[in-house]
């Protein structure tokens, strides 16, 4: 096995034992990138030289006894996390020349723990999508099957980790953008509780829904990453002040007495039978391990997509107003009035999906329509939140599918936005309710495509999710890296 296929924890052990160096590990990732990237297409920006330099520094740091929690681990970052001195495009032409003058808090934390940043990976433009096909630079492919999507919007992150191009990646999740690609690529992905991880330096899409989280090869790595990125940040005013537990303590194989809820609305028409089979197997495993299985109802699930596709575009239309061609990003330099400068710059810089969402959002917030759309959706959001509060009175964790189907062929549904929106039905309510949720590999379809299992918990109960995920992983196994050929 190549070094680039190790988990973070395994690689840390080998480096600690002086069996390998960060330079070995980083070179292994760069070799893998060299071999498979033409097919995988995960990277928008790759910093080979900088990565090897960081690796050498990490090795020096380790020799002086200051390795850090991620000392020498090669990571790839979704291209919406600001990286000082490295271009950050958000998958959009409008930011094709944007070189941030500062690091996002999560990037700062990764670097402080010694991580090696290989580069920036593909995503749907401004994280608006479920397949990463709206990325203006490169469209990542599912490493498990040629011609299939890696999911989205953190598709580059998922493809890179599953193909062995990096050991771990950070993505962001506004409506499933970490969990769905993790599920489609056989990874563990976690969307933390809203406010647990700083959003400072994360390019904003929908500020009340966005969260940064890891995409990893196993549950242990996920706990490790949460130990690094979780915690209060004074630069994000929605960051929550609270004590963060050591998440690695959650990796105990004991779910005895834990109440696992099955939300009946999540097992609906349109659910692929193979996906349902994998989830049912996971439920059976937990039952045999001593968990108590309870039937629960989240009655407003069917309204989630409608609520989401008002609230997210509304917030996006406001957040994306900043792209005016004046302060950073591209500009139409020929415009002779300010209005033309705005219009020409934005029209040339944004792709179709982004324009569509800006238009929906602007409409929903506009005078005369605000109450009917935005206010109404925000009220139904309250009902969705209440559904979860009620469910967590009778269970500790919810188990369900992540995506109604395994990965699909590239190019499907590109002209039918609503059909793609509906594929998010199982993941978006966690963002609306701000609860933590994760995807754990459950098995494969007959076609060899990974299928994930989704866990959702009450606010700040990432520890419970990790505990259940750990048990599932022990019983169902890890997906490992895809053999890209």
């Amino acid at each position: 096995m190549d070094l680039c296929e190790l988990t973070v924890a395994e690689a840390m052990e080998k480096m600690q034992a002086r069996e390998i160096t960060s330079v070995d590990l980083t070179q292994s990732c760069l070799d893998r990138i060299e071999r498979v990237e033409a097919k995988i297409q995960a990277f928008i920006t790759l910093d080979r030289k900088g990565a090897l330099e960081q690796a050498r520094k990490a090795d020096t740091r380790r020799r002086s006894g200051q390795a850090g929690l991620l000392g020498g681990i090669p990571v790839a970052l979704k291209d919406l996390l600001c990286t000082k001195g490295i271009r950050t495009t958000c998958g959009s032409r409008i930011l094709e020349n944007f070189i941030p003058p500062y690091d996002a808090t999560v990037v700062e934390r990764l670097k402080a723990e010694g991580a090696v940043v290989l580069g920036k990976v593909a995503m749907d433009e401004f994280a608006m999508g479920s397949t990463s096909e709206s990325c203006a630079y490169t469209i990542p492919q599912n490493p498990w099957k040629n011609g299939y999507v890696a999911g989205g919007s953190s598709g580059g992150s998922a493809a890179a980790v599953a193909a062995g191009e990096c050991l771990v990646s950070l993505g962001s999740d506004t409506g499933g953008s970490i969990r769905q690609p993790a599920s489609l690529c056989g990874l563990v992905g976690l969307k933390p509780t809203y406010g647990l991880v700083s959003r400072y330096g994360l390019v904003a899409f929908a500020s009340s829904l966005d969260q940064v989280g890891p995409l990893c090869r196993d549950v242990r790595d996920c706990a490790l990453m949460m130990n690094v990125i979780g915690g209060h940040d004074h630069r994000d005013s929605t960051s929550v002040k609270r004590e963060i537990p050591d998440y690695s303590l959650s990796l105990v194989d004991n779910v005895r007495g834990l109440r696992v809820g099955i939300p009946r609305e999540y097992f609906v028409e349109g659910l692929d039978p193979e996906v349902e089979g994998v989830v049912r197997k996971g439920i059976e495993l937990l039952r045999q391990a001593g968990a108590e299985i309870v039937d629960v109802s989240l009655p407003h699930t069917e309204y989630c997509v409608a609520v989401y596709y008002i609230i997210a575009p509304a917030e996006a239309s406001s957040n994306l107003a900043r792209y005016d061609g004046v302060h950073y990003g591209i500009r139409d330099l020929n415009a002779d009035s300010l209005l033309d400068l705005y219009k020409n710059t934005r029209s040339a810089g944004f792709g179709a999906e982004v324009k569509r969402r800006i238009l929906i959002g602007t409409y929903a917030l506009s005078s005369g329509y605000y109450d009917a759309y935005y206010k109404k959706a925000s009220q139904v959001r309250t009902m969705i939140l209440q559904d979860f509060t009620k469910a967590y009175e009778v269970c500790d964790v919810l188990i369900s599918p992540v995506s109604p189907t395994p990965a699909w062929k590239m190019g499907e549904n590109v002209d039918d936005p609503l059909a793609v929106y509906l594929s998010d039905i199982l993941t978006i309510s966690a963002n609306l309710a701000g609860i933590p949720s994760m995807s754990v590999p459950g098995g494969f379809s007959r076609d060899g495509l990974p299928i994930g299992i989704q866990l959702q918990g009450p606010h700040f109960r990432e520890d419970t999710l990790l505990r259940v995920a750990h048990t599932l992983e022990k019983g169902l196994g890890k997906a490992g890296c895809a053999k890209v050929c």
């Binding site: 003058p101 008002i310 606010h459």
Partner: protein
């Protein structure tokens, strides 16, 4: 129809976007489909229900009013497509 072509044109102007003839037609159709779909929310009685804008009731995050380090003028201007030594430049407004 939930939304007319003229309304899409107006909203595009509010959002500072130009739409080509074909974009305008396609967007009108797609927005109409989406807005018709979200109409299902009307079935729910939400009277007297407090809207949720954040999953937590976030209160203001204050800090002491002390001067802290921030980006230098040079760094802040560095990404601008057109600027002087100390100002962002745009076409004449008045």
């Amino acid at each position: 129809m939930k939304i007319s072509r003229e309304e899409v044109e107006h909203v595009a102007h509010l959002a500072r976007l130009h739409l080509s003839e074909s974009e305008l037609q396609k967007m009108t159709e797609q927005l109409d489909t989406i807005l018709s779909y979200v109409q299902k929310l009307e079935k729910l009685n939400t009277e007297n229900l407090t809207p949720t804008t954040h999953a937590f009731s976030a209160s203001n995050a204050f800090r002491q009013d002390e001067v802290q380090a921030s980006l230098s003028q040079q760094e802040a201007l560095a990404c601008s497509p057109r600027h002087t030594e100390e100002l962002f430049q745009v076409p004449r407004v008045i």
